[in-house]
Point group: C2
Chain length 499, copies 2
């Protein structure tokens, strides 16, 4: 008789392989595939996803989990084996609750909905998208109904991205942030944008500086690729095979590939730093969406928009873009990439206004789910809330409620994790600085090994072994706390105003 844990591991490895294959195909589709391949690719991906799901929710896996669990008492609760059993049992119970038809329907609707959204956004035609949004919400309600024990409906959706987190916790944190962020935005100077923001930033030079910083941050050529795409993302197929993507705006410093590259490198080094012993198990990826975002933001913002970073890198950056930056001193440049200023598009928002974009979405999606807000009224509600939060009003739905892909793909419950990631990025950095008081001096020397090593030791290597709450507790010694983040923003805004 073979050991149930060994059998379980071997079954899970095959299922993980199918998911890995699906990720390779997704990367290929977004980065390499000729357009003619799209219809077939959708079929191939659907098969891989369905097959992985079917293989996972089999009774056989449930039985192996039960047998393995019964021997769990002999295991160190922090061992890979104990965590694997615990995490997989939870995943299996959750996946098994959802009828296969609903899963298939959701997958299909997401793919069709994203196409409908892309067209609606292009045409600035919310009415054509509304029926898709209605159907998506309908399926979300059926999904939520699979989990009748949830304290509130939104908890079910949030749990897909932040295992075990309650909506109430998010509400508390956002209630603390909302007025503080509004105050910071109100206090920010309202001067004209700098001319050098408009470039030119030639693409070749952007690529060179991006690769240089990616390498410095730990994205070595033997395990990473960096390719252009439309909407940058990061996917990993193994700890030693991580794909970063970026985009190149030649006439907008905020769209310089360096920032998107630093962001994706943050996601990438998290995946790359996983313990290879977790490979081909459900534990072999970042712990949660918020923790993942904490790392993209830590490398992009806490490090990558800091003055010490630019003290190190600005000479090289300026030399790469002489036409735009020759006469721009470091401090003016640093201020331009950090200043708080209300804008319409979330992905282009600065660090201070970004959180308010998220709070808007978090509030609206709860209202949509509860039925308090009809989809017909979404554009008005969006515009009114943006005006309330940031004092500006979108001139079109394209620049308003149609700007993000998430809802069209069924990703309700995802948005708050972006802002939780921002909060965590600073909270984790504070803890890192307690151990490494000269962290910013390392940054100023262009040396990132010690920072990287600390993050690997405290976060990256654990993958999904522990819950997000446990993982955060292990790093910072407590729950998510917005105070370090607010202090950081207050200090940054104050220093920029003084500069």
């Amino acid at each position: 008789m073979s050991d149930p844990l060994t059998s379980l591991r071997s079954e899970l490895a095959r299922i993980c392989d199918l998911s890995t294959a699906a990720r390779v195909l997704e990367w290929d589709q977004l980065v390499m595939m000729p357009p003619g391949g799209a219809p077939t690719r959708a079929e191939t991906l659907a098969t891989l996803t369905e097959l992985a799901h079917e293989l996972f929710v089999r009774d056989e896996i449930g039985e192996l989990l039960e047998e393995a669990s019964s021997r769990r008492a002999d295991l160190d609760p922090e061992s890979d084996d104990a965590c694997l059993i615990e995490v997989t049992r939870r995943d299996w119970e959750k996946a098994s609750r959802v009828p296969a038809e609903l899963t298939a329907e959701q997958t299909k609707l997401a793919s069709e909905g994203m196409e409908a959204w892309a067209k609606a956004r292009e045409d600035d035609d919310f009415a054509s998208f509304r029926p898709w949004l209605d159907r998506t919400l309908e399926l979300k309600q059926r999904y939520i109904a699979c989990f009748p024990d949830a304290a509130e409906p939104y908890d079910v959706l949030l749990d897909d991205f932040e295992r075990g987190m309650r909506t109430e916790e998010v509400r508390t944190i956002f209630a603390r942030l909302r007025p503080e962020l509004q105050e910071l935005v109100a206090a920010a100077p309202d001067d004209e944008p700098e001319e050098f923001l408009a470039g030119p930033y030639p693409r070749e030079a952007q690529h060179e500086v991006s690769v240089a910083v990616a390498r410095a941050f730990g994205a070595d050529a033997s395990s990473f690729r960096l390719d252009p795409t439309v909407h940058p993302f990061c996917l990993s197929f193994a700890t030693q095979d991580v794909r970063l993507t970026t985009r190149y705006a030649e006439d907008d410093l905020h769209g310089n590939s360096l920032f998107s590259t630093m962001h994706e490198v943050g996601h990438g080094v998290y995946e790359h730093g996983g313990d290879p012993a977790l490979d081909r198990t459900p534990l072999a990826t970042g712990c949660s969406s918020a923790l993942h975002e904490s790392q993209s933001r830590l490398w992009e913002n806490v490090i990558g928009r800091s003055l010490p970073f630019w003290r190190w890198f600005y000479p090289r950056f300026r030399a790469a873009f002489p036409e735009a930056l020759e006469r721009v001193p470091l401090e003016r440049f640093h201020r331009a990439i950090n200043r708080a200023q209300p804008s319409l598009i979330r992905v282009d928002a600065d660090e201070t206004t970004y959180g308010l974009h998220i709070i808007l979405r978090f509030e609206l999606e709860q209202e949509l789910l509860s039925g308090a807000l009809a989809t017909d009224d979404l554009p008005d509600a969006w515009n009114a809330k943006l005006e309330e939060l940031l004092g500006i009003r979108p001139p079109s739905n394209r620049l308003g409620c149609l700007q993000d892909v998430h809802w069209s793909g069924g990703m309700f419950g995802y948005f708050p994790t972006y802002q939780l990631g921002n909060v965590l990025s600073v909270q984790i950095w504070e803890r890192l600085e307690a151990d490494l008081p000269d962290a910013y001096e390392h940054v100023e020397r262009g040396s990132f090994e010690a920072i990287h090593e600390w993050l690997r030791e405290h976060l990256y290597r654990h993958g999904r072994k522990f819950t997000p709450a446990e993982t955060i507790e292990r790093i910072v010694g407590g729950p998510i706390d917005p105070e370090p983040y607010l202090r950081y923003l207050r200090d940054k805004n104050a220093s920029l105003t003084a500069a």
Copy 2:
């Protein structure tokens, strides 16, 4: 109750999706993957391949095939449905005869064997590779034993690449070619190689001319990619998603990417021209290895090394490489890329000597399988036979019996299809010229649509619907015939000598 054919199609579609995913992962591995991804990629690929095999050889598929076959009488025997049932039943019966353990062992040994071969070749150390060759031959014998009805052992292996073809047929064709090719080689003038063969051929310019010709041959940007790799190949994931690869030698005209690109485009347009109705079925690919090679060779050689082609393209090609070709007239160039001259490496051989390299391999692998030749004696046997056939002797095993990857990966029975492809390329071209007498005038105008359309109509669209023999019969009205090919080589050699 659902129709058995509908159920069968839906099961086969999923299995095809797994194979398609595996091909995407193979392409990625050879063209894009950072080196660190290799160990995980091997696991992911093994899972996809095993799963596809497991799903295919299920009794359920056998039962669906039986039910569907019983209704086959109602179908037009040339219909997609009738051919699907026939071809799949044959594939299923063949796959079901081989124990899963043997398949897994062969896959594993192929992957390890190829690594051992690469190292042995690099070190010019045949002794280190010999044990792998012995194990490969041992597994081949076990594979052959799964098919006790075969007239001779080699038939089993050949059938994997040329369904239904007998070794005896190959022997007859090669017996006709052997003395004729030797005679042509002996008669070829033995002058020094032209200096301009050594370049320089800058990489950028090679890429530009390769893309230009690929587009002209029908490889449009919406369905094709062209990327660099070490050993060029072509893989398709759908009729509208074909990946070509090439390599760039800057100091050797024979290694100019244009020739490898034309070759791979030939494979690519065959896949691209398949009837989209066959997508996601086992019929959705070229009919056999020889027919596939007939198309790569038709576009690379019959068209791509012809004088009419170069009358059209030489001005552009010469302009791309002025340093090497400025003072080289068309006829001298055309002669240089066509002249017969004995050489050690198969893949670099000209059209006339190429067949003798294949005959050598075909004869030796039969001796290895029958036990008449011990692996210990392979290097000597190889060198003696090359001397007999081409009058030259390899100075090392690296340039001799270690040059090809095929045997290390278990691909015994594949080599003859290369030469059958050469033979067929001319036989098909002759038939095409009977319908399109001005085909070479089209070529000389750089117009390939009519040629492409003829090939699509007579060959490409059918995919694997018919057996190779049936497919060849449909195109040329008879069996494989070496005479057109011999006439073509004789004429070419005569015209080059006269020039």
